[in-house]
């Protein structure tokens, strides 16, 4: 009996809502619909306002929000901050890679070649070590843009539709995952060829991927509700189910201390996974239906885009 109580206590501790050091919400304009979020070098926060077709810039100190129109038909899905300190958007509406100058707010657009596929459903992007931006298109492509020359190449993805999250390792290697294709892939930085790695769970729905400091690839699995990791050095997979009866793992980001941040739509929560202790801590939203599609941060700060409530949330942690 005592063993049962102990087991219940441990289970409760593993899945109990955690006490964040500080959490704060910023309301956006109705219709902004923040899909992805990224933090700039001065702590400014950029978001992709997908339905409004804007780049949003939040000053966390003042709460001031600047909205920059990206162009006719713009519908940005992803945003990352590049090595130049600027936000770079994967804009499905314009079928283009878009950069906003952080000082002048000038917008530069690199359209994808339309003859290959007029609408690729651009998803996310990552920079390699040579400053080239790699991107995924959920309709079944991935590609590479060299910004100084404007040279762009696009390749058909293995298994067709599905390419979703993409990440760069500290060594500058590029990996992406396919949600419909259920795989992790590594691209050859010169030829563009993709090598597929199948996670152990069938039809897991690998949605997003992020590298830790050692180059291990952490994956949020939408269908299975798992977080999984692949270590290219050992060629070994591991996976853990998120807490709850039927988790839906959407987003993943690995912080500078190699703790793994995830979002779970079933729990309406951000979840932090400690790989050393193999424990989860939960940070539920204060409103239902947060629908967090992405989170990203820097040391001590996890920034979260609540598409469902049209808010940006920050969790400041130790």
């Amino acid at each position: 009996m005592r063993g049962l109580f102990m087991a219940l206590a441990i289970l409760a501790a593993l899945s109990a809502p955690a006490q964040a050091q500080e959490t704060k919400y910023y309301d956006l304009a109705k219709g902004d619909y923040p899909h992805d979020v990224a933090v700039g070098p001065k702590g400014e926060v950029w978001f992709a306002g997908q339905k409004a077709g804007i780049a949003g810039r939040l000053d966390p100190n003042t709460g001031e929000i600047e909205r920059i129109a990206l162009g006719k038909n713009a519908a940005p899905h992803g945003v990352i901050v590049g090595p130049d300190g600027a936000p770079w958007f994967t804009d499905g509406g314009q079928n283009a890679i878009v950069r906003v100058d952080p000082a002048s707010k000038d917008v530069k657009v690199w359209p994808l070649p339309p003859e290959r596929m007029p609408y690729t459903n651009l998803n996310t992007a990552a920079f390699d070590a040579r400053g080239r931006i790699w991107f995924t298109g959920q309709n079944g492509i991935y590609g590479r843009l060299d910004p100084p020359t404007g040279e762009m190449q696009v390749w058909d993805a293995p298994k067709g539709r599905g390419p979703y999250g993409i990440t760069a390792t500290p060594a500058g290697d590029i990996w992406f995952v396919s949600l419909a294709g259920n795989y992790l892939a590594n691209v050859d930085l010169e030829t563009g060829a993709a090598t597929v790695y199948e996670p152990p769970t069938k039809e897991q729905g690998a949605r997003r991927v992020w590298s830790d400091s050692k180059g291990r690839l952490w994956i949020s699995e939408w269908n299975s509700g798992n977080v999984s990791v692949y270590d290219p050095a050992t060629k070994r997979w591991q996976q853990w189910k998120l807490p709850g009866a039927s988790p839906r793992t959407y987003a993943v980001w690995v912080d500078p201390d190699d703790k793994v941040w995830l979002t779970d739509w079933s729990a309406n929560a951000v979840v932090r996974f400690d790989p050393d202790k193999e424990t989860f801590a939960s940070f539920p939203s204060d409103r239902p239906g947060a629908n967090v599609r992405q989170l990203l941060g820097r040391k001590g700060e996890a920034w979260i885009a609540e598409s469902g409530t049209e808010r940006i949330r920050v969790i400041r942690y130790r």
């Binding site: 339905k51 077709g53 519908a75 459903n121 079944g140 539709r161 949600l179 419909a180 739509w265 239906g289």
Partner: protein
């Protein structure tokens, strides 16, 4: 006896749609061929192949017109979509048009993140294409 809000909205939208079509001539008539091209917007998450083998993010749209919402067994619909289905939402030309124009305005909290299809003609083309999707030919 309560009035089913989706039924009433559907009736009104259908009536309004007929008026608009008669007023605007063929401007809003959908073209299934153009709709097939426009379906590239939806292709990543949806299929119109009733025998689609891939497990996609969105539900299969074969025979969607006239189908009550959240009806496919084995698909994990959002709570928002299940609630809309419980309230009587049926996918007809009017409700699909509204959903494509702004998914959240029809079903707040829907999991579908597709940007609004702002062009009315493109929406009409998409609906015409979906109306053409039929039963398995295999």
């Amino acid at each position: 006896m309560g009035v089913n809000p989706f039924f009433m909205v559907g009736l009104l939208a259908a009536a309004l749609g007929m008026l608009l079509v008669s007023a605007a001539g063929s401007a809003q008539e959908g073209d299934a061929v153009r709709g097939e091209r426009a379906f590239q917007r939806c292709f990543a998450c949806h299929s119109v192949d009733p025998d689609e083998p891939a497990k996609l993010e969105g539900p299969n749209l074969a025979n969607v017109l006239g189908r009550p919402a959240a009806q496919l067994s084995g698909f994990a619909y959002s709570d928002a979509m299940r609630n809309a289905a419980a309230a009587g939402l049926i996918w007809d030309a009017a409700t699909l048009n509204r959903y494509l124009a702004d998914p959240d305005s029809l079903i707040a909290g829907t999991a579908m993140s597709a940007p609004p299809v702002r062009d009315a003609q493109e929406r009409a083309d998409l609906v015409a294409y979906l109306a053409r999707s039929g039963p398995s030919r295999r």
